[in-house]
Symmetry: C2
Subunit: 360 residues, 2 copies
């Protein structure tokens, strides 16, 4: 049983006088059988907490600067229409009481706390975002990560790894960006995909008749979930681990990359679709950045001199993390150049940076 948390805030041009505002508001609460406890705030304005039936709780604060805040908590199964009416009555009364002094009235959508289905997935730069998620389609804990596939009305199914949105069925823009935005010709080429368990990149590239695509995905359970629930992304490509021009190896990419380096294997394209925060680090790598650099270094080593390395970077707002990443590119054992592109991936709700890297 979730808790609905409503807020109603008034910004004022000058501080409100509690003696003139509080009594009328309290009487509205009292009509709803909510009784107040007034607290001593030590000079920080008026503060009352009000407890009512059915576990209802309200907080009324007339701050000592120009702000009035009201919180209202109730259980999801409560009489929501009644609580909407209560908030309407409070808003209406405050508009009368504070007439001429109001600079903003803000009544946000209620926070739903403790719900069975969690709809709040903040952006990378830590902003509050409520998704239109209405059901959990798949959930598994693999030995590597928590895997969820969530249904969104507008985005279709969304693959979420360790509570981080990876890809939704609406996100062809992601796949398009990480394979070079339609400017590459994969026909007859050797391609290596790191990660990519949702099958989006693989499904798109096989259409172009490459010589061979090798995909290194560590987590069979991601493949299992996506092949059933992300078919708008992967089509039928994950139904078989091997096809005419592709093979999926369910393996950690690091030892495989090391083996490829030793064997002198080369690829025309390396596409790094690993999750932003790596899920498997060898003991030798003690930080995320070192792991990222290791992957980059190994990838560049197996890249043809005229080849291209594609990867997703980070939110366009994460300017510091992006700079750090670009610094890593200067520290590789083989000198490289890079370009970047900012792309709108529908389900991310933040613009995303993609990189192209090549040998100098």
């Amino acid at each position: 049983m979730a808790l609905r948390h409503y807020t109603l805030d008034f910004n004022l041009s000058t501080a409100a006088d509690p003696a003139k505002t509080v009594p009328d508001l309290l009487s509205i609460f009292n009509e709803q059988e909510m009784t107040e406890t007034v607290h001593d705030t030590n000079g920080h304005g008026y503060l009352a907490t009000l407890v009512g039936k059915n576990g209802r709780l309200a907080i009324l604060r007339v701050h000592s600067h120009g702000l009035v805040t009201i919180d209202l908590q109730c259980y999801e199964e409560d009489n929501i229409a009644q609580l909407d009416n209560l908030l309407n009555a409070l808003e209406k009364e405050l508009k009368v009481l504070l007439n001429g002094n109001i600079t903003r009235v803000k009544r946000l959508p209620p926070l739903v706390r403790g719900a069975k289905i969690d709809r709040y997935l903040p952006t990378t730069d830590k902003r509050m975002i409520e998704y239109d998620i209405d059901r959990v389609v798949y959930e598994e804990d693999s030995e590597y990560q928590n895997i969820k596939i969530l249904h969104s009305q507008q985005f279709g199914n969304i693959l979420v790894l360790n509570d981080d949105i990876n890809l939704a069925e609406s996100d062809f823009a992601y796949t398009q960006a990480i394979i070079g935005s339609g400017k590459e010709n994969y026909a007859g080429k050797e391609v290596l995909i790191l990660g990519g368990g949702d099958g989006g990149i693989l499904a798109e590239l096989v259409k172009q008749k490459p010589k061979m695509i090798t995909m290194l995905e560590i987590d069979q359970k991601v493949i299992d979930g996506c092949k059933t629930h992300m078919r708008r992304t992967c089509g039928n490509i994950l139904d078989n681990l091997k096809g005419d021009c592709y093979q999926i190896l369910v393996e950690d990419c690091v030892p495989v990359l090391k083996k490829y380096v030793q064997e002198g294997r080369m690829f025309d394209y390396v596409i790094n679709d690993l999750t932003a925060v790596p899920i498997s680090t060898e003991p030798e790598e003690d930080s995320t950045w070192e792991f990222l650099r290791l992957i980059l270094d190994l990838s560049i080593k197996v890249l043809h001199p005229s080849g291209k390395y594609f990867t997703q970077g980070n939110s366009a707002n994460m300017t510091e993390a992006l700079s750090l990443y670009e610094e890593q590119l200067g520290k590789l054992s083989c000198p490289v150049d890079f370009s970047k592109e900012v792309v709108c991936v529908p389900s991310y709700l933040e613009l995303w940076v993609f990189y192209t890297v090549w040998k100098k």
Copy 2:
């Protein structure tokens, strides 16, 4: 001075025993000089409110089903690191106390309430969204509406009319969709734009050398704001109300459309870029839907038999409103057909439906 509101919620597989969890949590609060008032909830779990220095307020609830919720309010100028530490200590302690019983720990980004710059602009389907808005670039109250241009780190400047996001500088996808997604040839054509005060459509269409574009924008102050602050959208097209192949009439479109109908004027394209909720309704139209139908009817009357009418619809999630709109299309004085397209407009943070309408 804004109020920061933190939440920390634990979902549990079985209800927690307040006697075993509350004392240790209270002692953490007490260390921060916060003192509790315990409230009688009439059988709805444990509830304490805690007041501390600097206007700090906390709410601790051990609900009688499997949920523990903590709220913490403080002023923005408070010692935020200290409050983060308090939340860290509470989270750590609860993880120990509830060990094995926890199904989810949720600590959302804090709600910032009453801030000078409001970052919360909910979606059309009423979900909570926090934007990365960091300054107000322009604000005017015209005789028609409140006009704001807000700066977002990732989206550039955003035109907001009556607190509704219209267009950001990042949103070329909107302009592209409402002029027919690159499938039309405007060369030598007669075009009518309804609204469009941000100049995005006009700036894009003049590149295609139409015969004449007439734009009917009611609000000079929208044009004034956009020509200065939305130049990534409008370029220099709004610097003059008249050019080689365009004219901007600062007028209510309804009487002008009526005049065009009387004169028998015809256009190859009519592009309706009016705000979703109309800002000017003649006394004869008593509802939003009637106004929408009036505009549609007049627009279709001035449309060449082979012409096209483009418009934005609504959020893809607003299925009922979309159906109602499509119903209106069946009620026009001239029979029409239509098609629709779902487009990702970056700053909207929800998928958006665009319509193409033509005479049967």
